[in-house]
Amino acid sequence: MIAKAPKSSRETILGKIRAALPQSAPLPELDATGPWQTFEDREARFSEVLKFVGGQTVHVKTVAEADAHLRTLEPWARGKVRCTMVPGLGDTTFDLKAINDPHQLENVDYAVLRGHFCVAENGAIWVTDDTVHHRVLYFIPQHISLVVPASQIVNNMHEAYARIKIGEHRFAGFISGPSKTADIEQSLVIGAHGARSLTVYLVDEL
């Protein structure tokens, strides 16, 4: 008698699922233009929601204007270790290219990073790992700014997913406001583990 090889868990699980499958049901069509919420003034809505979740929006014409504004921000001015991914906006106080271990970014006080577009309905900004050396730069600095072209604001998440190709970046995501928690008696505290503040620059000429 030939000993039967034990079934792998993969086969066992898939076998059990196949034996239990419910009747087929259609996959709903999802259209970006569907009957979803839109806004007359997308930027106003975006700024309002971002403020509600603890962030701030600054609309400027040029990168130079954004730079001038950034220098007035207390966390930036106080920050000793800073870096920027947007030439002309802020500065970099250490050799970013020399960093090959993300742990070396532990002490970054302020980072100026790129965002691709904003979502009006929920105040979120889409970011991807190709614009930073280490993806932890979105999370480890004490404060961050995201710089987004002012024209790039979609209404809702359906429009958002229609314009991004999910899977082309190993890391990508939406960021909506600074890091926060309400785990102690439901009291909202800004600055849980990630950034303590988020300033979004909407720049006309970027």
Partner: protein, 460 residues
């Protein structure tokens, strides 16, 4: 212990029980404001429900598709039939890389599998990094809510706990101060960790990636620094298409905490250069639930916690009274389905008010399932004699008009004239925490007959 006994202990502290009730109702109200500000809210729920229904009907196919695409992305996919296998898989990955220190973000699945004690037995230092989870971990408790793990703890108690473990000032209870202390304590743990473990909010078959949602950013810090990322998911977390996320991300945070979206909604499609990423797909009884037409839709749950925040029983009895990883209405379905003997009281921790069903973002028919589950437990002879006996008596009375009328008359008269100590006796469970309403002088039948008579002489 059964739910009623544990709930009793919770309500004995009246002031705390009322505080707990209010804290959760506050979250429920935030959810309502968010839901009503989205005009297409009901369409979103309907669409989410239909996407889940479709995904279930092709679950095996989508899991294989997910595995193939994730593998192409450089993710190592593992399959675990049960909790034990899940734990062994995680341990073997950690051992292979000589991991001593592991940081975790919230994962109800690993709670369900009791991963932490298992890893600790094998000498691994496990740190939960979600603030609420860290608090319960330091207090050697389990989460009492799936989204708000420390909702049962007062800030003064957090202060005491942090004073003992993190060296904060004695008597300090300011949430800002305590959160700052936790931030600094956990930063250090993040930076020293050898591996990061996370749950999974959504897995996408079409692209072979996973999405993790947090407000604190702890999942991202936890997996962004070390070289190893392990993500553990129940097989039901699957979605067919990336664009399905648009529906679910709109629903999740609004339903959970009344936020427009979580602060971080991170999409992972492969390891960082020079690192490893693993996904463990877990069954642990889910394929059994999938078999049952009555209960399979409970697998649609996206763990938002809205059903708990609204449940009058959960709010007033506390999460720990369920003795389950997932408490509240959804937990009262999922848990007894897996361990009916131990959790037979849970489907009765429900008034069948249906509020849970009304708020569920994926339209699970929660209260219907809870009702059906009672029958199932009865069929399995898992209902206690006192409950069975009282039901028999009530059914006997209700099916005999003369007996019902007679007893009704006796009750109305005696309630008016009997002394208080006789009415509120130990047998009257209803009267333990509240007064009975004033007994009417007449029965409904009598009142109705009189009304008809006044209207038009009784006959028209």
């Amino acid at each position: 212990m059964a739910h009623p006994a544990l709930a009793q202990a919770f309500v004995d502290n009246r002031e705390r029980a009322q505080w707990h009730d209010k804290a959760l109702w506050f979250v429920r109200e935030k959810r309502d404001r968010m839901a009503s500000s989205v005009p297409e809210w009901e369409l979103l729920r309907e669409t989410a429900s239909n996407i889940k229904r479709h995904t279930q009907s092709r679950m095996a196919e989508y899991l294989e598709q997910f595995e193939a695409n994730a593998t192409k992305n450089g993710i190592v996919v593992h399959w675990a039939a049960d909790a034990h296998e899940h734990n062994e898989i995680v341990l073997s990955i950690l051992k292979r890389h000589s991991v001593k220190r592991l940081v975790k973000s919230k994962s109800m699945l690993t709670e369900e599998c009791h991963l932490n004690p298992f890893l600790e037995e094998h000498g691994i230092d496990v740190v939960d990094t979600d603030l609420g989870e860290r608090i319960v971990q330091l207090r050697k408790e389990t989460p009492s809510h799936i989204v708000l793990p420390a909702i049962h703890i007062r800030k003064e108690e957090v202060g005491e706990c942090f004073h003992e473990h993190l060296g904060t000032e004695k008597g300090a209870s300011d949430p800002n101060y305590l959160t700052e202390a936790a931030r600094n304590h956990l930063r250090e743990r993040f930076c020293r960790a050898d591996a990061g473990l996370t749950g999974v909010n959504f897995a996408i078959a079409e692209t072979g990636g996973i999405v993790i949602c947090t407000n604190e950013g702890n999942a991202d810090l936890g997996v962004g620094l070390p070289k190893i990322h392990i993500a553990c998911m129940g097989m039901e977390k699957l979605l067919p298409r990336a664009k399905d996320l648009s529906v679910f991300l709109r629903l999740l945070a609004r339903s959970a905490t009344g936020q427009p979206v979580t602060t971080y909604s991170s999409h992972f499609h492969g390891p960082q250069p020079g690192c490893e990423m693993h996904v463990v797909i877990v069954d642990n009884g889910r394929s059994e639930i999938l078999k049952s037409p009555e209960f399979r839709r409970s697998l649609d749950c996206i763990r938002c916690g809205a059903c708990m925040n609204t449940c009058p029983v959960y709010r007033r009895s506390g999460g720990h009274s369920y003795e389950a990883t997932v408490p509240g209405p959804i937990g009262s379905i999922l848990t007894p389905l897996q361990t009916p003997e131990k959790h037979n009281s849970l489907p009765f921790a429900c008034t069948l008010c249906g509020s849970c069903t009304d708020v569920c973002p994926v339209k699970i028919d929660l209260h219907q399932q809870l009702f059906t589950l009672r029958e199932l437990l009865d069929n399995k002879r898992l209902i206690g004699t006192s409950k069975k006996l009282s039901m028999k008596v009530v059914s006997g009375v209700m099916s005999r008009t003369w007996l019902f009328n007679l007893l009704g008359g006796i009750a109305r008269t005696s309630l008016r004239f009997m002394p208080r100590f006789l009415i509120y006796n130990p047998l009257n469970a209803w009267g333990k925490q509240r007064d009975l309403p004033d007994a009417p002088k007449q029965s409904f039948r009598q009142q109705y007959a009189e009304r008809q008579k006044q209207k038009g002489g009784g006959k028209s």
